[in-house]
Symmetry: C2
Subunit: 337 residues, 2 copies
């Protein structure tokens, strides 16, 4: 049997069990955005690792090294954001082919350093090695959070309101602009920027972590329709998403219309949004929304609820079950966050 | 300019400077076996990252997945050993081609889990991704050590006695057996085992860390002649190695003689020994040696001294400057540790 037959989640389910036993007290391992190690003073150490591989996660010819350096760190910071935490240090393992230009390397580190300095993350170590082919980037980020602020994927409850902290689908739109080599106008430039320079929602994560009414939280990396299943699995619940509530940027709406893209597919399943997906106790929704609006001068987007049969994701549009189009998705018009 | 023109150390020197400024207090970053993060109670958090890439660090056809899983963790544990620390948790980033067999993966994790369980290291997370070609393994290990036990590479002093904690060259010998496809007798089997299943000298590191007379310490990964230069750079000193003192296993001596290998080259520059290289205050040498002998029932091998002009490594044999052979090394007969 080959890996291609069981897939990534099959692999994780296959290898995890022996590592979930006998964990030290106060430690949470595989299964959330970051591992949690209690430090005994009400604080937790958070640890997360992410890899970007050339050809799989980026195309060298289509990505500037500066943006790649920034993005490599940003996707890890996003995992810390999802735990309500503050990143503190980073460790880089970098595999490079022998013919990599030194200028490329300098630019990569300039991008990495710029974001690290902005978020006060210290690059404390790493490993450089030769690669026989693709560029390999693995970053491990350490962070900290008050234990009481950490929102686990397993904490969602029936009736919770499902929310996201930002527009969805922009990154996927940018990827299409790039892969289809479309002419770049104002909308396309916005989407490309969103694809190449994702912003980890660290401030949002910290604010939401401090709200007792927020129950489960994670970052959106694969797409809302896929990521919500991780919460459903770990919280043993179902979910309902109201498609017309998904927040869409004016640029994506306009570009989708112009280029004939399936907007629902991009927004629901595009991935690499790196905003946060969370569930909120309905009785606390007004408080959480108000705190979010006051701090960030924009709305926390309610996109559905935790509801229905365990493991079942239901899509609605304007109150009726959504019928999906030929790609498994239908078209819709969403609102901007 | 290409990476191949500046090399790995050129790269590290090029990229490190911006990351060495503005470090938080109590933090030591790039430049030692592991990063050191003070935790405020006299303890330090240690973090290290190492990558193994197929074709560069191992050949899939020549390495069992079980041994590879074990070795991937062992090389990281060795870095924690070099800091006098105890490893606590590990994080794995694994990149696999789509046609990787599930049995291969199971065996890899069995090997990893076996060593993790033996050393009580919890695998707390990771990232699995597709690779377009080579198998990619990056492991990050966290550990802890009393701050007072940590031996920096920068702490060597003129007159210190240079020591190693185990036989040198066995792993390089095993690699030659494998690459030259030599017939495998008892000696060759021993060397292959030493290559595929390196042992991190954790107990040795802890004992030596607790000895105030031990000054600088690191693990031997590239070979003593290369690794000692890291101590020389960071401690601004020179070193002298007495070739006849380098500890050699009977198996390596016998196989070298049988196959016509350059024993000095293997022992001095073979690499992947994963024992510890340390410098000892001469006035404490008797105490340190005795503690080592009592605990491990073998000798700590004194192989030279910290001496001579800054940046200069001198090789002696039987008290006279060594003349190197055609490969840059001469033959010699060493003793077993």
């Amino acid at each position: 049997m080959k890996l291609s037959e069981i897939g990534e989640f099959g692999l994780i389910n296959r290898i995890s069990p022996p590592f979930l036993h006998d964990l030290p007290e106060g430690v949470v391992g595989i299964g959330d955005d970051a591992a949690i190690i209690e430090r005994g003073n009400g604080e937790a150490l958070l640890v997360t690792t992410d890899t970007l591989v050339e050809e799989i996660h980026f195309l060298k010819a289509k990505t500037s090294p500066r943006e790649l350096g920034e993005k490599s760190l940003a996707v890890n910071l996003s995992d810390i954001a999802a735990m309500g935490g503050t990143p503190t240090s980073a460790f880089l393992a970098l595999g490079l082919p022998r013919d990599t230009g030194v200028e490329w390397i300098d630019e990569f580190f300039a991008g990495l350093h710029q974001l690290a300095a902005r978020e006060r993350v210290a690059l404390l170590g790493g490993d450089t090695t030769r690669s026989p082919g693709p560029i390999l980037i693995t970053i491990t980020v350490l962070g900290r959070a008050p234990l009481s602020h950490i929102k686990r994927r397993s904490a969602a409850q029936a009736g919770d309101i499902l929310c996201v902290t930002g527009d969805l689908g922009d990154s996927a739109g940018g990827l299409r602009v790039m892969l289809e080599e479309l002419p770049v106008g104002e909308d396309e430039r916005y989407l490309l920027e969103r694809h190449h320079r994702p912003r980890a929602h660290l401030a949002e994560g910290r604010l939401l972590g401090a709200q007792p009414g927020v129950r489960a939280m994670m970052d959106v990396s694969d797409g809302v329709d896929s990521d919500i299943r991780r919460i459903m699995e770990q919280s043993s619940c179902g979910a309902r998403i109201d498609l017309e509530q998904l927040p869409v940027s004016p640029a994506l709406r306009s570009a989708s219309s112009h280029h004939g893209w399936d907007l629902t597919e991009l927004v629901l399943a595009g991935g690499e949004d790196y905003c946060l997906l969370l569930t909120v106790d309905p009785s606390a929704m007004a408080t959480v929304s108000e705190a979010f609006r006051e701090k960030f001068a924009r709305e926390l987007s309610a996109i559905g609820t935790i509801a229905g049969a365990q493991g079942r994701l239901e899509l609605f549009r304007d109150g009726r079950p959504a019928r999906l189009g030929k790609h498994g998705f239908d078209h819709f018009l969403g609102r901007s966050a």
